[in-house]
Amino acid sequence: MTWNEFIYFALGSLLLWTFGTVALYRVKKSFTGELLIIAGLLLFSTFIGLLWSHIDHPPLRTMGETRLWYSFFLVLVGYITYKIWRFKWLMAYSILVSAAFIFVNLLKPEIHGTNLMPALQSIWFVPHVTVYILSYAMMGAATIAATITLSTGKKRESELMPLIDNLVHIGFGFLVLGMLMGAIWAKEAWGDYWTWDPKEVWAFITGSAYLVYMHAHYAKISRKDALWILPVAFILLMITWLGVNYLPAAQGSIHTY
């Protein structure tokens, strides 16, 4: 099995996942939708398995192979999170992001030859990035819900507050998992699990800002006032994700590849 056959497996899986998500929204019982999503996951993992046996080593060396795993794990973790929390939108979101990775792989096949430098060839690469993507999704949703609550006042507060707290706590769980997997990986690749590299500094800032929110009620800060922390924390998160490379303090960071 080679990349030439990828299109059949990818489009097949995407169709199954899309119909599955539509079924989750439309069909009363979630069984049909879940079955379709699981079938898509099986189809997709079949391709990974066959590709693996064809090239004789875990497909983790090129960027294209890495994207293959993102596409798979995003939907898998999205589905598990859906099983526990019943967020249909998260299922749809993870399929959307997964589709983006699949299409990059389909439309820019020359990327398959792009070389992955030795430090990036690690089993931690994919889970480290995947859980961060999910965390960002949760935190993004929490920020939107917080903005709605702040702008509409009392009316929606009781409805949205539990959702916001759930999203922040789950998102923080993923954030910490991503950070600590990164730490273990850094220990294996660079000899130290924490070096205050600019990307690490900003990940730390993001984490501690969300911790302030999660502990705010102990300080008798009202729930409504605490909500203001969330948009600020999300801006910090965006700096960590996208902005770090442009900061003067980050020149020479080991995270800019």
Partner: protein
């Protein structure tokens, strides 16, 4: 009720005053004696500090001290830490992480955690508190190992030639090699490379064409591709030991059928590179092969008689006691022909507590995934 809430506010005020005083003391120390030298925390000082941090967990403290383990204090400290870290992330060339105020805030965070854990331990109920315990004890362990524990950490670089045994290491920046309690014999250094690539390069600017979105053709026999209107095919590729890679290529301009053939090579440490000219500005050239993986077959000996042999590779260090040996570099000018290997040796006796902390917090964050925002 009124007087009670007033008293609550006052006590928070007391905590804020104490935190401020400690931070001001940190700034004073910073100005008087300069940055914190982590050397003062080496064993057994850090171990003693560790025992002191255990006290609030083992023994019940008096009410005024217990206040310092409140959630209120944690919010104040977290806010201060966030602000300090933002300074660290924005201002280039700062050394916040080695400053006294930061060290004192770090210490207060650990004290806050230890007292908070101590309070929970006294009314522990497994079902309700396991998530809290995993997260907070794990974090305390991790903060301790990564903070005061890191004073015992040593990092050395060691350059070993193939067939030789080396026991002297250098600190980064320093020049005098020092004898270490560990020796490495390098049996073999091996490197796999990705095939080099054929490109069209602007001889003046050095940019690969098309500018901004360069296209390459892998230098593998039989490979073809189109770069900036030229159909390029690699007729043969030759890469012998100690020799520079050479490709025989032919290229046809799609617009008018003009054909060019010739050899291109990126050269190496003793052979010249070769290009194939298109015109005065552009030429076909070969990129340097990029390392795919490199590894060293080694034997490791320690002073206390331990022996180990194995392969050290990027992302796959070898462990001997509290020493970890990392594949760090090689003679990059020679690439795969390098006859030396450079290792980084890291000694970290606090690694196990750090990993235990990481494992606990990871388990704790899994509980967050299941429990969400339910108040404990």
């Amino acid at each position: 009720m009124g007087s009670q809430s007033k008293r609550k506010q006052e006590t928070a005020l007391v905590e804020i005053i104490i935190i401020s005083a400690v931070i001001i003391a940190g700034f004073a120390l910073q100005f008087v004696i300069g940055p914190l030298d982590f050397g003062i925390l080496v064993f057994p000082v850090n171990l003693i500090l560790g025992f002191i941090l255990l006290l609030p967990i083992l023994f019940k403290l008096s009410q005024p001290i217990r206040k310092f383990g409140s959630g209120k204090v944690s919010v104040i400290l977290l806010t201060i830490v966030t602000i300090m870290a933002i300074y660290m992330g924005l201002v280039s060339g700062n050394d916040v992480k080695h400053s006294w105020p930061f060290a004192f805030v770090y210490l207060m965070c650990m004290v806050n955690l230890a007292i908070a854990i101590g309070k929970r331990v006294r009314k522990f109920r497994l079902k309700k508190d396991y998530g809290f315990m995993l997260n907070h004890i794990g974090l305390l362990l991790l903060l301790f190992a990564a903070g005061p524990g890191s004073a015992d950490m040593q990092r050395w670089f060691m350059t070993v030639a193939e067939g030789a045994t080396e026991w002297r290491g250098e600190r980064s920046g320093a020049t005098d090699p020092v004898e270490l309690p560990i020796a490495i014999t390098l049996l073999d250094f091996k490197m796999d490379e990705y095939p080099p690539k054929i490109a069209i390069v602007d001889k003046v600017t050095g940019e690969s064409q098309p500018v901004k979105r360069p296209v390459f053709v892998e230098a593998v026999g039989g490979e073809t591709g189109i770069i900036s209107g030229w159909r390029v095919s690699v007729d043969s590729f030759d890469y012998r030991p100690m020799m520079a890679p050479v490709a025989m290529i032919s290229a046809e301009r799609v617009s008018d059928g003009k054909i060019l053939t010739g050899r291109v090579s990126c050269g190496n440490h003793f052979q010249q590179f070769r290009i194939l000219d298109i015109d005065e500005r552009l030429c076909f050239a070969m990129t340097y092969p990029e390392p795919e993986r490199f590894s060293s077959q080694v034997e490791v000996f320690t002073k206390d008689g331990k022996e180990k042999s194995g392969v050290v590779e990027v992302n796959a260090p070898i462990k001997t006691g509290s020493w970890n040996i990392y594949q760090y570099s090689y003679d990059t000018s020679k690439g795969r022909d390098s006859q030396i290997s450079i290792f980084e040796l890291v000694y970290d006796p606090w690694l196990i507590p750090a990993y235990a902390g990481i494992a606990m917090v990871m388990l704790g964050s899994l509980t967050l995934l299941f429990r969400g925002g339910k108040r404990e």
